[in-house]
């Protein structure tokens, strides 16, 4: 089976970020998306710690330690940026003002359920951050993740087994094998990674994929 690299999955997703979009990118794979958005599109990235218009990493020697994104990485401002406090930041999210949020996931289910904040392993303290606020407030939730776990177990499921981040919130899933829309009838295939067939992908997917 042909698997896209993480960068290539991010590149695929980036095609679906339109000009003028307001976008929140989660930590990890989602954060890679910004660098692949096609030229000529002006996209405003929001980071929940109080910046709209997140710019690239600072040049050597120009870092401001108090100018960071939600993953605590040093960032910069761009023309059109604004700073604000946490209540305004979550008004943007919860109030439906962002267009797209890109999130990682442990599990996604065919009913749009998302699990990305806790596993069944209770030996570690739970941590939720802003994920639950994003999924209820942002109209389009794009999940980006590997299609299966390292041990080969499926992450694209009939029903999530991990605690939910939100019920019925996912719009679309981008993996190293496929792009899937969540519809009223379950997952529907949008795209296959080159060289694969739907049967290949279905074989490592617990949920049924409609073509």
């Amino acid at each position: 089976m042909n698997r896209l690299s993480d960068d290539d999955v991010a590149r695929r997703l980036a095609q679906d970020i339109p000009d003028r979009a307001y976008v929140n990118l989660g930590i990890g794979m989602p954060n890679k998306v910004a660098r692949f958005v096609p030229e000529g599109r002006e996209v405003m990235y929001q980071t929940e710690n109080g910046l709209l218009g997140v710019g690239p990493a600072p040049a050597e020697g120009e870092a401001d330690p108090e100018l960071i994104d939600a993953s605590k990485k040093l960032v910069t401002t761009i023309p059109g940026s604004s700073f604000f406090d946490h209540t305004t930041s979550f008004s943007m999210m919860r109030g439906g003002h962002l267009d797209i949020a890109v999130l990682g996931a442990y599990q996604v289910a065919e009913n749009g359920d998302l699990a990305n904040w806790a596993t069944l392993d209770e030996s570690h303290p739970p941590a939720v951050g802003g994920a639950m606020d994003l999924v209820v407030g942002v109209p389009r939730i794009y999940v980006i993740m590997r299609h299966v776990n390292r041990d080969g177990s499926p992450k694209v499921l009939r029903r999530c087994t991990y605690p939910l981040t939100g019920p019925g919130v996912v719009s679309r899933v981008y993996t190293d094998l496929a792009v899937l829309d969540v519809t009223d009838n379950g997952f529907r295939l949008v795209d296959l990674a080159p060289g694969n067939t739907l049967e290949d992908v279905q074989a490592v997917t617990e949920a049924r994929i409609l073509s």
Binding site: G80, S82, F83, L98
Partner: protein
């Protein structure tokens, strides 16, 4: 490219439809988007619900909309002022409905709409006529009233300066309801005294551009 500038007041208000719920910023004569309201009066679009702190004074602003018979309903905290002649005329003729909301509850209901809050409990109004028919609850020994979010189709906003991203800042007490109303409408239209060629300084932005859809210039101050 993000560019929310539109060429004229007329173009800016062209998307307003009959029956729309329209929030209008301002308190007293400060921060009222007179230019946009005039342009709206000229369209003749009617059946509007106006949400604003006051209900107009003299012949301008919301009074112009009332005079032209465009307003079916007013939601505000203080409709009766020395100059509110057109509101009173329409109200007494039964031509306009009125919902009076305490000023802080008005601001908070608008904020709830803009912030995705489904409703909240406030002590304001508990035990008064304005709480009649509303859900109440005793919390830590005090009476609270349940208040619902107040959404709008359109917000008409007055700012001191705007840039092409829709970032806004305000002047003195002309800020008032403008920032919160900018968050609560499907379509937020701004008249700014200055439309900047350069981006606003990020630390000085009061309303981030994400809340704004259209920006046009109107230099006149009241």
């Amino acid at each position: 490219m993000i560019d929310k500038r539109v060429a004229s007041l007329t173009k800016a208000v062209a998307s307003i439809r009959p029956g729309d719920v329209v929030m209008i910023g301002g308190f007293g004569s400060a921060g009222i988007p007179y230019g946009l309201i005039d342009a709206l009066a000229q369209t003749g679009v009617g059946g509007l619900t106006v949400i604003s702190n006051n209900a107009g004074a003299g012949e301008e602003g919301i009074s112009a909309l009332l005079r032209c018979g465009q307003v079916a309903r007013v939601i505000c905290s203080y409709p009766r002022t020395p100059g509110s002649i057109w509101f009173e005329r329409r109200y007494e003729a039964g031509e306009v409905e009125l919902e009076v909301v305490p000023q802080g509850t008005l601001a908070e209901r608008i904020r709830a709409a803009g912030s995705g809050i489904g409703g909240f409990f406030t002590r304001t109004g508990y035990g008064t006529k304005l709480a009649e028919g509303k859900e109440t609850r005793i919390i830590d020994g005090h009476g609270y009233v349940f208040e619902k979010p107040l959404h709008a189709d359109i917000a008409l906003i007055r700012a001191e300066a705007a840039d092409r991203w829709g970032n806004l800042r305000y002047h003195a007490t002309a800020r008032n309801f403008n920032p919160v109303m900018a968050t609560a409408a499907r379509h937020t239209i701004v008249e700014a005294r200055m439309v900047l060629d350069e981006p606003m300084e990020p630390e000085g932005v009061v309303t981030p551009g994400i809340f704004v859809d259209a920006v046009t210039q109107y230099e006149v101050r009241p």
